[in-house]
Each structure stands twice: as structure tokens, then as C-alpha cells.
């Protein structure tokens, strides 16, 4: 039996450091908002032959497009990002560039982007609250046996793990934004939400087992019970995470360009979700005590 209880302190220190770095990255680099969060236009074009970035910029200069960003995509493709362009401007650009094939054009006005940001925050906050409420309800037996404080401790443990996962996803994408200019969009928020719903699964599996062992064990030694539980379920936690990551990896590798960052965010989230169940949610139960909580009589 691996002595998890002894190493949990190390795990939690690692997690605290990771969270600290994420907050640092979030504050200093920030998240690069994508098109849907800041408004503007994006065009993906396909030319007959390879085009130079500066060449295109030069051609479009007279149109006065403001901060024009031109990025090569695939072999003869180009992605153009600019401030909001209406359809007239859009047609003008196409004409200026010799009417290349247009793969997609998106134009998002400021009202829509502002609304998306507000909605994203609401969705995340609500998800965390509802998951916590559900856990408190699912583990209500705990409070019946050990008092309400114990049940809250478990609920808070799950929330702490979820907060940890969100922070690390944000930190990771702040880093990617800094290094490679990766932007976050609605898909990133979707990834956060799905990770919230999914990564709590491992926490549930571990908590489920600790509860069972608490109820049936004659021992009062809490670190022992937690340790026993972790050893019993760690393989299945790893297995479920691995199968899910495998599938997301397939989406990341073969699912196409437009969904790559979404898959990446999901992978990071699912992986940290498994880690945080072990390194954050579990120590939360143990934190500061050696004895199992006394039963109500």
C-alpha cells in the first residue's frame, strides 16, 4: 500500500505552487480575448498560390482597416483579423485581394461580445454553485452521522478542487497566450464548464469510498482510512481519466484546426481535475486532524 497520507502534504504544496504560478500568469500576461469576446472581424481565405503576409498587408493599406493581423493558415490560406468590418468593407477587401475563395467570415459587434463575457461568468459561477449543492445533497448521509460541519467540509473540498482546476486552465492559457498568442473564446469557456462537470467525478469516487470506509471501519485513525480509500480507488480514477483523455487527444490530433484549442483546454482540465481530486479535495478532509470525526449519538 502506497502511503498517500504521508505524501499529501507534498501534493498540496505542488498544487499551491501551480495555482500561484497560474495567478501570476493571469495577472501579468492576462488572457488574450478572442474575436467573440472583443468584437471585430475575421476572414479565412484560400488563395490560388502562396501569399506573403506583408504583401497582403500592403495591398489592404488603402482600405484603412485599423489593427490588421494577417496569419498564414494551411498552405495557401490566410487568416485576417481586424476591427469590425461591415459587409461593404468585407466585399471591398475580397475585391482588393483578387476574390480568393472565402472559407469563413465572422463579424461580431460590441453588444454581442459584451453579452458573451457576462454570460460566460454567470455560467461558470452557477455551475460551481450547483455542483457544490449537488455534492452536499449526494453526501447528505455524512451530515446525518457526523454533523453538518462535516458535510460542509466535503462540499468545500470539492469546490476547492474545482477552483484549482479553473485556475490552472486559465494559467495554462495565459502562458500559451504569452508564448504563442493563443486567444480564448466561447469554446474555452465551454471547456471550463465541461471540465467542472467531469473532473468532479474523481472527487466523487474518492469521497464515496472514504465515506464507505468511515461508516464500516472500526478504526478511528483518519489518515489510515483516507489512505486505505485512496489505495482502493486510485486505479479506477486513473483509468477513467486516461480513457477520456485518450478520446480528447484523438479530437486534438485529428479533429481539425478550429477545435484544437478547445480539445487542448479540455485535456489540461481533465488532467488537473484528476490531480486535484487527489491533491486538493482529499487533503481537505484530512486537514488538521488525526482522528475520524465523532459520530452523533
Amino acid at each position: 500500500m502506497f502511503d498517500f497520507a504521508k505524501h499529501l502534504k507534498v501534493f498540496i504544496i505542488i498544487s499551491v505552487i501551480l495555482c500561484g504560478l497560474s495567478i501570476f500568469g493571469w495577472i501579468f500576461w492576462g488572457l488574450k480575448p478572442g474575436l467573440d469576446f472583443k468584437g471585430g472581424s475575421l476572414m479565412e481565405l484560400k488563395f490560388d498560390k502562396k501569399q506573403g503576409v506583408s504583401e497582403i498587408k500592403e495591398k489592404l493599406k488603402p482600405l484603412n482597416l485599423g489593427d490588421l493581423v494577417v496569419q498564414p493558415a494551411s498552405e495557401t490560406g490566410m487568416i485576417l483579423k481586424m476591427k469590425e468590418a461591415d459587409d461593404a468593407k468585407h466585399q471591398e477587401i475580397l475585391k482588393t485581394l483578387g476574390n480568393p475563395q472565402e472559407l469563413r467570415f465572422t463579424n461580431i459587434g460590441p453588444t454581442i461580445s459584451q453579452e458573451l463575457i457576462t454570460k460566460a461568468w454567470w455560467a461558470i459561477i452557477l455551475a460551481v454553485i450547483f455542483i457544490a449543492l449537488y455534492i452536499a445533497w449526494a453526501f447528505r448521509k455524512i451530515s446525518r452521522l457526523f454533523g453538518a460541519a462535516e458535510s460542509w467540509r466535503w462540499g468545500l473540498g470539492a469546490i476547492a478542487a474545482l477552483g484549482h482546476d479553473i485556475l490552472i486552465m486559465i494559467g495554462f492559457f495565459a502562458l500559451l497566450g504569452f508564448l504563442k498568442g493563443v486567444e480564448i473564446d466561447t469554446n474555452f469557456v465551454t471547456a471550463i464548464l465541461v471540465v467542472l462537470g467531469y473532473s468532479v467525478n474523481d472527487t466523487i469516487v474518492i469521497y464515496d469510498r472514504i465515506r464507505e470506509n468511515l461508516l464500516f471501519s472500526k478504526s478511528n485513525d483518519l489518515p489510515f482510512i483516507v489512505n486505505k480509500s485512496l489505495n482502493e480507488v486510485i486505479v479506477r480514477c486513473l483509468a477513467t481519466t486516461l480513457t477520456t483523455i485518450t478520446v480528447i487527444l484523438a479530437v486534438y490530433l485529428f479533429g481539425g484546426e478550429s477545435i484544437k484549442n478547445f480539445a487542448l483546454a479540455m485535456m489540461v482540465g481533465v488532467a488537473t481535475g484528476a490531480w486535484s481530486s487527489l491533491a486538493v479535495a482529499t487533503p481537505f478532509i484530512l486537514f488538521g486532524r488525526k482522528m475520524a470525526p465523532g459520530r452523533k449519538t
Binding site: E44, K46, D86, D87, Q91, L103, R104, F105, T106, N107, G109, T111, I112, E115, K119, W122, A123, L126, A127, F130, I131, Y134, I135, A138, T186, N187, T190, L193, V194, L196, G197, Y198, V200, N201, I204, V205, D208, E232, V233, V235, R236, A239, T240, L242, T243, T244, I245, T246, V247, I248, L249, A250, V251, L253, F254, G255, G256, I259, A263, M266
Partner: protein, 416 residues
């Protein structure tokens, strides 16, 4: 469990799987009874996979009394729908939505080629409405919205004033419009009624007598060309209120095709990798879970066709990811069976207890994902909604598969 019952369930599962398989096939074999019906079931692809355009318009409602807004926005939707139908787009979708106190009109035009012309045509739709004079307060007259708008227009033709020979546009209202116009003119005899075109006052003739014929004339200082253009634009429909394009998204058809291909490859490889993992890890049980997982995929694809679910790129991603989550339940069950067996129970008992004891964690885990899907569905628009739908469908069927199909297969395999 009774062996007969186990086998009965097994046969039902096989029939279900076969039924789903027939629906999933693009073309069912001819010898199957009802093959025509099976072949008729199609996947519904979203805009991002078929190619097309999504336009979001904001309706300007500030001049309209609040109780009339609902009606005016719905009228605008009808007019746009009429205009769009001229283009012969298959399955256009035009919806209204309310965001805060803003009214929006969402136009989806799948497979459209000439997007720019469509935008122009919708954008050029004139807004026409008739207003009456409010209570005369000070020197400035105030024009009030009456509810009689371009929505009620039947036709508009160019005419010439017999006296001055200047061009003018004659309007003819439809049945409801004729009645409204009759009421309006009856109420305002001796007073002017204003004609507002694109929110500009064009003319304000004084009503001499009630007009019940449903005909009106717009005179202004039109040139011949202007009058002709206005008449043809009004004939194609006039909006009850002004709209503004605030968001646009075009997706070319080739991008959609590539996305479908890429998702298919990703899905198949994902399924293959998970199957391999399960078989290597759980051997015989793993093999059974792969069979259950395949049935899971068949059922889900069939549901997409029957419900029908509009599949978007993110929706397909949601489905693929749900494959990875669906197998989780099997992992939890198999691990539990192993444990129960280690306690010295006989195999059949271990299987029974394994399913029983794994259930609470499976239920809790899947329900949290469902909660998130609900929130996602409520808060998102268009493309992300598809993800929420496919993922929640996946979660629900995966729970069903774990406790019926996997269980049945394990029970069948457990007795020689």
C-alpha cells in the same frame, strides 16, 4: 437473475442495436421491410458543417410603444422570411430573441452562395409606417406610432399624378391593413397622417374623408428612378421597424466538409483507442464493454437522426468526448466486481454487488455533467448549444447502456 429473463433482455438489446444500425445506415438494404423509411432518416447538419451564413440583427424599438414591440418584431421577422424565400435557400431559419431589453432577429441561411446579395437585400428592406399626430402641446408636433406598418402592404406601384405629372407611389394594403387604415383615417378626418419611410418623414397629407378602399399614395419630390426603385423595394416587403446587422458569420462549404471528415477520423480513432485500452486492461470484461460501447454509438447516432439533433462541429466533439466518458461507468463497475471477487464472493454474486455498489458514484458523476450541460444550454447560443445537447444525450444513454447492456452482457458471459 433468471436465465430466461437474461436471454430475453439480450435478444431485445440485439434487436434494438439492429434497429439503430438500420437507421444509422445512409441507405438501408432493399430487402429490409420498410427500408424506404430507414433510408429517409438523415443527419441534420448545422451551419458550420454545411456552410452558410448566420446573421444577427438588432431591432430598433425606441420609437415604438412597449406593448406593440412584440408584434412589430414578429412582423419584421415575417417580412425578412418572405425576402429570404426569394433566394430559394433550403431550410432558412429566422427567429426572434430577447436579450435584456434588446430585440434580436437571428437569420440562418444554410448553403447560400451569394451572401452579400442576401445581406444587401435584407438590409435594403425599407421600413414603412404611418403615424398620427399626438396631443398638440407646444409648437412642435409629435408623431405617434399607430401600428399600421409596411407589414400590411400588399403591393406598391409607380404612378403619375394626373395634374402635375410627377411620379408617386401607390400603395395597396392587405385585408388587415385595409381595416387598420380605414380606422386610422376615420379617426383623423381633418388631421394629417404622416408617412415615415426609413424613419424619415416623407409626407403628411391631411385626411379629407375616411379611406376604406385600402389604398394610399406616397407623394414626395421623387425622381422617376427613385420612385421606381421605392415601388419595387416596397413591393418586396417593408419592415415595421428598422433593423441593424450586428453580427455576421459565413462559413464556406469546403470548410464544413473538411470539418466533417476530420471529426469522423477523430471519432473512429478515439473509439478504437478506448476499445484497445479496455481490452488490454480488463481482458474479457473489456471486450464486453467494447460491445456495449459500440451499441452506445449506434443508439446515439440513431437518436441524432430521429429527434432530430442539429449537428454542429462542437456538437460532434461533444459526442466523441462522451464516448470517453461513457466508458468510465464500465471502469467503475469492473473495478468493483474485481474487489467483490477479492472478498471471496462467487462470480455471479460479485457481478451483482459490483453493479449495485458502483451505481451511486456513476449516478453522481453523470448528474454533475448533466447539470453543467443544462447551464451551458441555457446560457449559450447557436453552435455551443449543439455541444450541450449531444453531450447530455450521450450522458443519458451511457448511463442506460452501463446498467442494462453492459450488465446483460456480463451476466450472459458469467455462466457457462
Amino acid at each position: 437473475m433468471n436465465r430466461n429473463r437474461v436471454w430475453t433482455i439480450f435478444v431485445i438489446i440485439l434487436l434494438l442495436a439492429f434497429f439503430c444500425f438500420l437507421i444509422d445506415l445512409p441507405q438501408a438494404p432493399k430487402w429490409i421491410p420498410g427500408s424506404k423509411w430507414f433510408s429517409k432518416q438523415r443527419f441534420h447538419l448545422g451551419l458550420d458543417l454545411r456552410g452558410g451564413t448566420e446573421l444577427i440583427y438588432e431591432a430598433e424599438t425606441k420609437d415604438i410603444p412597449s406593448e406593440e414591440i412584440e408584434y412589430a418584431v414578429a412582423g419584421a421577422r415575417d417580412v425578412i422570411e418572405r425576402r429570404v424565400n426569394v433566394f430559394g435557400v433550403s431550410e432558412p431559419s429566422i427567429q426572434t430573441s430577447k436579450v435584456g431589453d434588446q430585440r434580436r432577429i437571428l437569420v440562418e441561411l444554410p448553403g447560400i452562395k451569394n451572401i452579400s446579395e442576401a445581406i444587401k437585400m435584407i438590409g435594403e428592406t425599407p421600413t414603412l409606417d404611418f403615424r398620427e399626430l399626438g396631443e398638440q402641446t407646444t409648437s412642435t408636433a409629435e408623431w405617434l406610432y399607430t401600428g399600421l406598418t409596411g407589414k400590411y402592404l400588399k403591393s406598391a406601384i409607380i404612378n403619375f399624378d394626373p395634374q402635375t405629372n410627377e411620379p408617386e407611389v401607390s400603395l395597396e394594403f392587405d385585408k388587415d391593413g385595409t381595416q387598420l387604415f380605414g380606422e386610422l383615417t376615420t379617426k383623423n378626418v381633418g388631421k394629417p397622417i404622416a408617412i415615415f419611410l426609413d424613419n424619415q418623414l416623407i409626407s403628411a397629407p391631411t385626411v379629407r374623408e375616411p379611406i376604406t378602399s385600402g389604398k394610399a399614395v406616397i407623394t414626395g419630390k421623387f425622381t422617376l428612378v427613385e420612385a421606381r426603385e421605392l415601388a419595387s423595394r416596397l413591393s418586396a416587403g417593408a419592415l415595421p421597424l428598422p433593423i441593424k446587422l450586428i453580427s455576421q458569420q459565413n462559413i464556406g462549404p469546403s470548410l464544413g466538409r473538411e470539418s466533417v471528415k476530420a471529426s469522423l477520423v477523430a471519432g473512429l480513432l478515439g473509439l478504437l483507442a478506448v476499445s484497445l485500452f479496455m481490452i488490454l486492461f480488463y481482458r474479457r470484461l473489456g471486450l464486453l464493454s467494447v460491445a456495449a460501447l459500440s451499441i452506445y454509438v449506434l443508439i446515439n447516432l440513431c437518436l441524432f437522426k430521429i429527434i432530430p439533433v442539429t449537428l454542429t462541429l462542437s456538437g460532434i466533439a461533444g459526442f466523441i468526448i462522451s464516448i470517453g466518458m461513457a466508458v468510465d461507468a464500465n471502469v467503475l463497475i469492473f473495478e468493483r466486481i474485481r474487489e467483490e471477487k477479492a472478498l471471496g464472493k462467487i462470480y455471479a454474486q460479485a457481478v451483482r454487488d459490483g453493479f449495485l455498489r458502483a451505481w451511486s458514484a456513476i449516478r453522481d458523476g453523470n448528474l454533475t455533467t448533466l447539470i453543467v450541460c443544462l447551464i451551458l444550454y441555457y446560457f449559450s447560443t447557436g453552435m455551443v448549444k449543439g455541444f450541450a445537447v449531444t453531450l447530455s444525450l450521450g450522458v443519458l444513454t451511457s448511463m442506460f447502456c452501463a446498467i442494462t447492456i453492459t450488465r446483460n452482457l456480463v451476466e450472459i458471459a458469467s455462466k457457462k
